[in-house]
């Protein structure tokens, strides 16, 4: 295979597949075979004839050699003569023309850690509430499982004090999922907040969230809605927010890897590699 054909070489003639009516014939034949089922067998017979001749014709079109036509290639006119336009730069990323913003972010693991830590803080507070007021560790856990049950099926408070394996598993899964998701969100969003991420994200955020839940909790978890103590609820939300927020902001930000040149991302760090690219990258088309 000759290299020069690709890229800058003078165009030569091009071989293109030759036009042919056989695919058409074959399709028509097949269609008629079926159409005969709707109308009359004679149509099917005609179809079969066309089908066979189409098949043979097509076969001979590609075997033993594919038929081609030679099309003279005209040299392409100059393209890309649009005057090069200057490209604006972002003030934050003067040196990187293709920014993947922000330049530095918390790693995913920060969000995960934050979410888990916050989740533990929240669970501790909620269970404390259960123990202090109901002498039961399981009370708040069972409440979470209430999102599975409709109002008439809601058990009495008594029934909520005892351990139930199914409910426990569900509650645990829900709690972890939600905490992880919100933790991830913190990892992503805290740096976006204008000032004081902990106050905004850790305290105001959860309070607003509690306010929102106050309205819609009945739709999500009627049981919890019925039994809830909003002060404690808000408190544990804030506990989550503060702990998760603190954990997240204590992590080190890392460079967004997408901004680095491919060579570097690929782990090739020998100097000069970028320039080499520049050398053979003059012209992509010819």
């Amino acid at each position: 295979m000759q290299e020069p054909q690709i890229g800058n070489a003078e165009p030569t003639d091009v071989m293109l597949p030759a036009p042919t009516a056989w695919p058409f014939t074959l399709a028509l034949g097949l269609a008629l075979i079926f159409a005969g089922m709707l109308t009359n067998v004679s149509i099917s017979i005609l179809g079969a004839v066309l089908y066979l001749s189409g098949a043979v014709g097509w076969f001979r079109e590609v075997l033993p050699h594919e038929r081609h036509v030679r099309v003279p290639a005209e040299p392409e006119a100059e393209t890309g003569t649009v005057p090069a336009r200057e490209v604006m730069r972002l003030p934050v990323a003067q040196q990187v023309q293709r920014a993947w913003l922000p330049l530095k972010i918390y790693p995913i693991s920060a969000g995960v850690k934050g979410g888990l830590a916050g989740g533990i803080a929240m669970a501790v507070l909620a269970m404390l509430y259960g123990v202090v007021f109901f002498h039961s560790l399981w009370y708040p856990i069972n409440l979470i499982a209430g999102s599975l049950y409709d109002a008439p099926a809601i058990p009495t408070t008594e029934a909520l004090l005892h351990f139930r394996l199914g409910w426990f598993v569900f509650a645990l899964a829900m709690h972890i999922t939600m905490c992880l998701l919100v933790g991830l969100l913190y990892g992503a969003m805290l740096p976006m907040l204008p000032t004081r991420p902990i106050v905004l994200g850790g305290i105001i955020g959860p309070l607003l969230w509690t306010g929102l839940l106050y309205h819609v909790l009945g739709y999500i978890n009627p049981l919890l809605d019925q039994q809830i103590n909003w002060y404690w609820f808000a408190l544990s939300q804030v506990a989550f927010g503060v702990v998760a927020g603190l954990v997240v902001v204590r992590q080190n930000k890392v460079w967004t890897s997408e901004n680095l040149p491919l060579a570097m991302r690929a782990g090739i760090e020998s100097p000069g590699i970028v320039d080499e690219h520049e050398h053979d990258g003059e012209d992509t088309r010819r």
């Binding site: 293109l16 695919p23 399709a27 269609a31 290639a73 005209e74 293709r98 003059e282 012209d283 088309r285």
Partner: protein, 562 residues
């Protein structure tokens, strides 16, 4: 500077048109062609023709429903109209037009000279074409023009046992089966072709990660066709066996099941709707960056979202069956999987917004259509999410709310994106510019018509109006809404007339477009308009996702950063 002629090179002589050839040669040329560009255009013209047919069928329905107790058409004719309208629009408008654009653009975009199997490509098109012709022959077949022949009247999803020989006498259902079967074979062939082309024919340097998003999304489209059309074909074969050989697959009187047809159909039917919408996503992903003058936002994430939509969409089919009495666990599963699709779809919407954000938006007609697409697809997706809430679906399913939902996606989303694509690639395909004024007029008229029709269509659904009824009682609170809906169709029709006029007149006397009227970045704009038979005299070599950007900005190329 945008409005100035962007190309400074002398424009080539107007391309030699077929007009100089005798008619027979021209027809012969089109029939025997294996060129992906000509086949693409064949697909597109074929689909436009059927769009008008399907639209006229829709107009007939809308006229009938304009007021209660109307008797513009008989129930038999009405039922045939919605069956033919739905079937035509899905199988002979939306699919072919998408295949047309894919066929036309993919080889150009990936720097290839043709599809992987050019002859198979031709076969695929002709199968689709003959499928449509067979289906429409039903107007003439059977009892002839009077009484609308033996046109199928079983709805586009042809639920059993309405299709069984005892409820559907004569050949009407057979026309439906066979028409779709034939075109289905063609679609599978074309999809295989597209996949192979994208896998094997990319130009040097175009790794998977450097393909235009257009290629990615249509790769997933083709993958979905390959996976999803099989089940439809299989189900139709079974139905044929029932009807011709006395089988009992869907024969409820002999123990057959009506439900299993629903499963089989929707295992196809749901992925099918993503087959239709993915190419629309692909258009938008090309047009928005160019008219925002920015690279697409979050390319790798877009790719990931596309693939995950493809996967998830295979597991949500039974959301069309929330009312058939599945167990609560079954219902809950399909609620979850259906809603999961909102996440990757949302990611796409946000990434398009991210692309526009901070750009310099240029509102030429293609961009207008894309912005409208974003707006309407958002709403349509949200009504989809409402429908996916199974209990809510028990109320909304099978009502005009569903009809509104899917026309919002299909017309408001897909058709709008498609019009955008038409205007965007028309200069490439014909070598001439369309008329911008008419384009904008088309946009606004069609926009008004669309919203008149399909915004108000949600309401009768909420007020209890089922779909597929040829008439209704007064006094249900549906009358006014139906009137408005029908009026909107008039605007839509005018819009489409303007569009067709614009295409035709610009084809003959539009300004010459030049190779690259949009100052765009993908390979198809580097060759002449219309491209020569061989696309590229020399096969291009690319180093980034935007090869023409690299060319135009040698001081600041993309490839350094990808």
């Amino acid at each position: 500077m945008w409005d100035a002629e962007p190309i400074s090179k002398p424009l080539a002589v107007p391309p030699v048109r077929d007009a100089v050839q005798p008619l027979f040669d021209r027809v012969h040329g089109w029939i025997t062609t294996v060129d992906h560009k000509r086949l693409g255009i064949l697909y597109i013209v074929y689909a436009l023709f059927f769009l008008v047919i399907g639209g006229i069928e829709a107009s007939i329905m809308r006229l009938q429903l304009i007021r209660p107790h109307n008797d513009f058409v008989s129930p038999q004719v009405f039922n045939r109209m919605f069956t033919m309208h739905g079937t035509t629009m899905i199988f002979f408008v939306a699919m072919p037009v998408m295949f047309g654009f894919i066929n036309y653009a993919i080889p150009l975009m990936i720097g290839a000279r043709d599809m992987a199997f050019p002859r198979l490509n031709a076969w695929g098109f002709w199968m689709t074409a003959f499928g449509g012709i067979i289906l429409y022959f039903s107007f003439l077949g059977g009892s002839g023009l009077y009484g609308a022949g033996s046109t199928p009247d079983v709805g586009w999803f042809a639920y059993a046992p309405l299709t069984s020989p005892s409820f559907s006498v004569g050949h009407s259902t057979d026309y439906w089966i066979i028409g779709l079967l034939i075109s289905g074979f063609g679609s599978i062939a074309t999809a295989i072709n597209i996949l192979t082309t994208i896998f094997c024919l990319r130009c040097p340097g175009m790794t998977l990660g450097k393909m235009p998003l257009f290629a990615w999304m249509n790769m997933v489209t083709a993958g979905l066709v390959v996976l999803a059309l099989g089940p439809l074909t299989a189900a139709q074969l079974m139905l044929l066996i029932d009807r011709y050989l006395g089988g009992h697959f869907f024969d409820t009187q002999a123990g057959g099941s009506a439900i299993i047809w629903m499963h089989f159909f929707w295992v196809f039917g749901h992925p099918e709707v993503y087959v239709l919408v993915m190419p629309a996503f692909a258009f938008v992903s090309e047009i928005i960056p160019v008219f925002s003058r920015k690279a697409i936002f979050g390319y790798p994430i877009m790719v990931g979202a596309t693939i995950s939509i493809g996967f998830i969409s295979m597991s949500v089919w039974a959301h069309h069956m929330f009312t058939v009495g599945m167990t609560s666990y079954g219902n809950a599963f399909f609620v979850a999987s259906t809603m999961a699709i909102a996440v990757p779809t949302g990611i796409k919407i946000f990434n398009w917004l991210g692309t526009m954000w901070g750009g310099k938006l240029i509102f030429k007609t293609p961009m207008l259509f894309c912005v409208a697409f974003l707006f309407q697809f958002l709403i349509a997706g949200l009504t989809g999410v409402m429908l996916s809430v199974a209990p809510f679906n028990w109320q909304l399913g099978g009502s005009y709310f569903v009809v509104a939902h899917f026309h919002y996606v299909i017309v408001g989303g897909i058709l709008f994106a498609l019009f955008g694509a038409f205007y965007y690639w028309f200069p490439k395909m014909s070598g001439r510019m369309y008329n911008e004024k008419l384009g904008k007029l088309h946009f606004w008229v069609f926009l008004i018509g669309f919203h008149l029709t399909f915004d108000f269509m949600h309401i009768p659904g909420i007020l209890g109006m089922p779909r597929r009824i040829y008439t209704y009682e007064p006094g249900r609170g549906w009358d006014t809404w139906n009137l408005i809906i029908t009026i909107g169709v008039l605007f839509q029709a005018v819009g489409i007339l303007i569009f067709v006029y614009n295409l035709v007149s610009s084809y003959f006397k539009g300004k010459l477009a030049g190779d690259d009227p949009w100052d765009a970045w993908t390979l198809e704009w580097s060759t002449s308009s219309p491209p020569p038979d061989y696309n590229f005299a020399t096969i291009p070599v690319v180093r980034s996702r935007r090869p023409l950007w690299d060319l135009k900005h040698p001081e600041d190329p993309d490839w350094k950063y990808e």
